[in-house]
């Protein structure tokens, strides 16, 4: 590395969208600056690789932008380096002028009800990670041998889980879905998928594009109940708001679904509203979900679900929850347990009423799990504006940076991968996919990735 000593050295932790947009904003600042991106897996791109569904290849084209950033002068990838496992926050603060946390929201919110941990009850994260070949979820098993699945939650992740369960498997064969998932889905006997939300159709979080796709699945009937679409005055107020265009479009789609008939389609998706899960039923495995019926209370745009006292039971064999995501606390830094984020003021990490010098946060770990890929670009621009404002005002101190950090790794048994080594993995994955007509066949075990790059 021929970084001039006066360069500002900045570590970005995490290589998903928010991390790459932070790197982009830093590298465009026109300052002498070195950005080192740490990633706990050998592979970059975070949820674009392991979250975006395999049948949404167009969204993954965003990787071309990240690849361009990664090849910029002043950028270094340190793959297979985990904060907490291989390096500490204190060490990073000693080696860099600033660190930007971009680790996302890696765990799921719990429903907090009895039976939630019964076999057959899963998080959406586990299922999505599994079909996308994330090493953490490679060995999870999902029993697709029975007929009825329930998904709790009405956002885009719930839609992805639903679509992968409902689509004819032949339509997934030429995607980059992992082979182990394809094999399991080919044997699936799932016939009914119920998607439940605690509020009404006007409050569902789907983007209309994702919802529309659920109505266009081959050999699948997508159904909703007419009675759920009789909206109150406050919901109509919400739909009529020009800035709330998604809700109006979603409701128009739900209305179309009420006219559909189950007929003799192979599968059906059914939307349920105004239901909160109260207990997962079953002795040794999931057999049903007890739900409490809600009504909406409160003013328009702030309507909350309130229990009516009526309960009912949905029989099911498989249960997924997709009701929000939480960041994971980082040892040595404050954490807002209620919101599941690192507390911050426009990206500056805060501890009570003071800021933690040199430590910043961006993306889902900063604002919570909202928005789409591009939302993170504006978010990271905001964080980086404050990073640069603070750094250019501070006295010039030299920091040892990434070369010195890398020197610590061998003694710790840490084998960090460079961006060039990721490109070897990338090429090998594309090669593995070719005979099967797939854009790639991902490696799903870290040891295989390390072996391929000569680190076995």
């Amino acid at each position: 590395m021929n970084t001039p000593d006066k360069a500002l050295k900045i570590a970005v932790i995490g290589s998903g969208p928010s991390g790459f947009y932070a790197a982009e904003a830093l590298l465009r600042a026109g300052l002498p600056l070195q950005v080192d991106m740490l990633e706990r897996l050998p592979t970059p791109f975070g949820l674009v690789r392991s979250g975006v569904a395999p049948d949404h290849p167009k969204l993954k084209e965003v990787i071309k932008v990240y690849d361009r950033i990664a090849r910029s002068p002043g950028f270094r990838f340190l793959g297979n380096v985990a904060l907490g496992r291989d390096v500490t926050v204190a060490e990073l603060r000693a080696h860099y002028h600033a660190i930007i946390l971009a680790c996302g929201a890696q765990s799921d919110r719990c429903m907090g009800i009895p039976g939630e941990d019964l076999p057959g009850s899963h998080t959406a994260t586990e299922f999505v990670g599994w079909f996308n070949g994330h090493p953490d979820y490679r060995d999870h098993a999902f029993d697709l041998g029975r007929e009825v699945a329930v998904i709790v939650g009405q956002g885009n992740v719930a839609a992805d889980v639903c679509r992968i369960l409902a689509k004819p498997v032949d339509e997934l064969r030429t995607t980059d879905i992992s082979e182990h998932a394809l094999d399991a889905l080919a044997q699936s006997r799932i016939r009914e998928i119920h998607i439940i939300g605690r509020r009404g159709p006007a409050q569902a979080r789907f983007t209309p594009r994702e919802l529309r796709e659920l109505g266009e699945i081959h050999q699948c009937a997508t159904l909703a109940d007419n009675r759920d679409l009789r909206l109150g005055e406050r919901c109509e107020t919400e739909l009529n708001d020009l800035q709330n265009g998604n809700a109006a479009k979603n409701c128009a789609l739900f209305r179309e679904f009420t006219a559909n008939q189950a007929g003799n389609r192979r599968r059906q998706i059914r939307f349920h509203f105004y239901l909160s899960p109260s207990e997962v039923l079953g002795d040794s495995r999931v057999e049903g979900l007890r739900v409490a019926r809600n009504r909406l209370e409160g003013p328009a745009f702030a309507q909350v679900a309130s229990a009516t006292g009526e309960t009912t039971t949905l029989n099911c064999d498989l249960l997924f929850r997709s009701i929000g995501y939480r960041g994971v606390p980082i040892p040595g830094l404050p954490f807002d347990d209620h919101r599941g984020i690192v507390p911050n003021a426009v990206g500056r990490v805060t501890d009570g009423d003071h800021t933690v010098p040199g430590v910043y946060v961006t993306g889902w770990l900063k604002r919570g799990p909202s928005g789409v890929i591009g939302t993170n670009r504006a978010d990271s621009v905001e964080t980086v504006t404050h990073v640069l404002a603070d750094l250019t005002q501070a006295d010039a101190v030299e920091k040892p940076g990434g070369d010195a950090l890398e020197a610590l790794f061998p003694a710790r048994g840490t084998r960090n991968l460079s961006y060039e080594e990721w490109l070897q993995i990338d090429e090998a994955e594309i090669e593995r996919g070719r005979p099967h007509g797939k854009p790639r066949e991902k490696f799903t075990r870290v040891r295989d990735m390390l072996a391929l790059t000569g680190h076995g």
Binding site: P17, Y21, R28, K58, L59, E61, V62, K64, V65, T207, P208, R209, R212, L242, Q243, G245, N246, K249, G371, V372, I373, G374, T375, N376, R377, A378, V381
Partner: protein, 101 residues
Amino acid sequence: MPHIVTDNCRLCRFTDCVEVCPVECFHADEERTYIDPDVCIDCGACIPACPVRAIYDTEDMPEEFVPWIAINAERAATLPVLSARQPALPTAADRQKELGF
């Protein structure tokens, strides 16, 4: 099919869309922005970002906007990329009010 910018952008050009675009597919002239259909990945981040709702998913838009598909493609091809947010046009506040937002 990509997303497109329609007439509401004229005299506004707020460019909030540019800042949330993950792939830099926005181009602009003195009047408005345009989306390059070959670069847009249909993520939809720009739709709610626009203060005057000028942007539509072409799979889900009123018939009247169909001509904008060609206009976006043609203009984006000849204009420079906008990489970062710009100040809105001086007429933006009045135009926003006139459009009812």
